[in-house]
């Protein structure tokens, strides 16, 4: 039974990181595209991008903390 718990924690960590990676990847792609179209707005775009990335990352960390708790409990 303990093995299954570890298995679940590993799979969960993988899926949550997959989601966060896709999200941040899309975000960076769109930000770069926008900066390419309008280079004078690059500074603002970078700030907004970092904040949005932090929010996505925060959600992913919620999932990772749950996985970690599953793995060590």
């Amino acid at each position: 039974m303990e093995g299954l718990g570890l298995f679940g924690a590993g799979i969960g960590a993988g899926i949550s990181v997959l989601g966060a990676g896709l999200g941040i990847g899309r975000l960076a792609a769109s930000a770069l595209e926008a900066a390419g179209r309008q280079p004078e707005a690059a500074g603002d775009l970078r700030t907004t991008m970092i904040i949005a990335a932090a929010l996505i990352e925060g959600v992913a960390f919620f999932a990772l903390v749950i996985c970690l708790l599953m793995a060590i409990a």
């Binding site: 039974m1 700030t47 970092i50 904040i51 932090a54 990352e57 925060g58 960390f61 919620f62 990772l64 903390v65 793995a71 060590i72 409990a73």
Partner: protein
């Protein structure tokens, strides 16, 4: 087996494990020394001051137990008194091996926070003295360095988010928040240093100050009436049963997410570093070692970026939340 049964079972196992550790059976010692628990234990808080190879039993132990306070000058003097003893890095009563009601000790992380505070106080008094002396001439040296940070925080973090007087008044808070988190993160990156922002208690305390600042500023700037009105979230009154719980929940979720973000970022980076270093001992090979060391150096440099980024993000998000809480009313009036 149902989920609740399973949980009960694991809890029972946990209890039996705790009980058996008192007698030091072989199985539990092997569990205690599993790499994951060991890494997490190293990242966590301790009752003694340690900085790299330096371990000093100098931190006072303060316990509140059974209605009265117990003060001890250090951990060893606590153990000498015979009332309490250390078991698996935790303080327990000598009589029944349970944890005391409340542990208010000065721990390693508290000591590291005090170091950061002392450093900041010294630095900022030096800088303010230089700023007073230089008058209107261009800043130089350390004064220049800190002035660029202060101006960055004022022009790019606080003023764009918090309009008017409140922004000016809150600038010292945001500056203190940013510098404190940054210094704690950077001390954690020193060889042998400990990251106080990697313990959830520290980040939670920082987020609680953020929560107080957000709501205090909102009430002070726009009055208690507008603050209560903002619980509706701009929706019509008949949606109140739905909106009020959501808005109250979001009020508490904001500091909670601040807590988890900083804590998890710092712990995750250090866990990766520890794990890579663990591989070194696992393989014990000259061919794999350079790759591991190179990768660990890369992660360490990444952590340097993360130390700045997380201090910035914590400050920025707090400023945005304050701005949201204050700004919503000024649109309505």
């Amino acid at each position: 087996m149902s989920a609740t049964e399973n949980k009960e079972k694991s809890e029972n196992e946990l209890h039996s494990e705790v009980e058996t550790t008192n007698y030091g059976t072989e199985e539990t010692t092997s569990k205690e020394e599993s790499p994951v628990t060991q890494i997490l234990n190293d990242l966590g808080d301790h009752e003694e001051f340690s900085f790299g190879p330096l371990h000093a039993d100098i931190l006072p132990v303060i316990l509140y137990d059974e209605g009265q306070f117990h003060f001890y000058g250090s951990r060893s003097s606590m153990e000498k008194s015979g009332d309490y003893l250390m078991e698996h890095h935790h303080i327990v009563r000598a009589s029944d091996h349970n944890a005391p009601d409340m542990n208010l000790s000065v721990t390693n992380m508290v000591a590291f926070q005090w170091m950061a505070m002392l450093l900041l106080v010294i630095l900022f008094f030096t800088v303010s003295k230089k700023a007073k002396k230089s008058g209107t001439s261009a800043p130089k040296g350390i004064h220049n360095f800190f002035e660029s940070i202060i101006v960055f925080l004022r022009d790019d973090v606080v003023q764009p988010n918090i309009a008017g007087n409140a922004g000016v008044r809150l600038l010292p808070y945001f500056l203190a928040l940013f510098m404190f988190i940054l210094v704690l993160n950077l001390i954690g990156l020193l060889p042998g240093g400990h990251t106080a922002t990697g313990t959830i208690g520290v980040t939670a305390a920082l987020a609680i100050t953020a929560f107080l600042v957000i709501n205090y500023t909102a009430i002070k700037e726009s009055g208690i009436k507008a603050w209560l009105h903002h619980l509706l979230g701009g929706a019509p009154v008949w949606l109140a049963p739905l909106m009020i719980p959501i808005e109250i929940a979001s009020m508490f979720i904001k500091p909670f997410s601040l807590t988890i973000r900083l804590f998890a970022n710092m712990v995750a980076g250090h866990t990766v570093l520890f794990s890579l270093m663990g591989l070194l001992f696992l393989f014990q090979s000259f061919f794999i070692a350079p790759a591991i060391v190179g990768f660990a150096t890369f992660i360490n440099l990444l952590e340097l970026l993360v130390a700045f980024l997380q201090a910035y993000i914590f400050t920025m998000l707090t400023a945005i939340f304050v701005g949201l809480a204050v700004g919503e009313h000024s649109h309505e009036h």
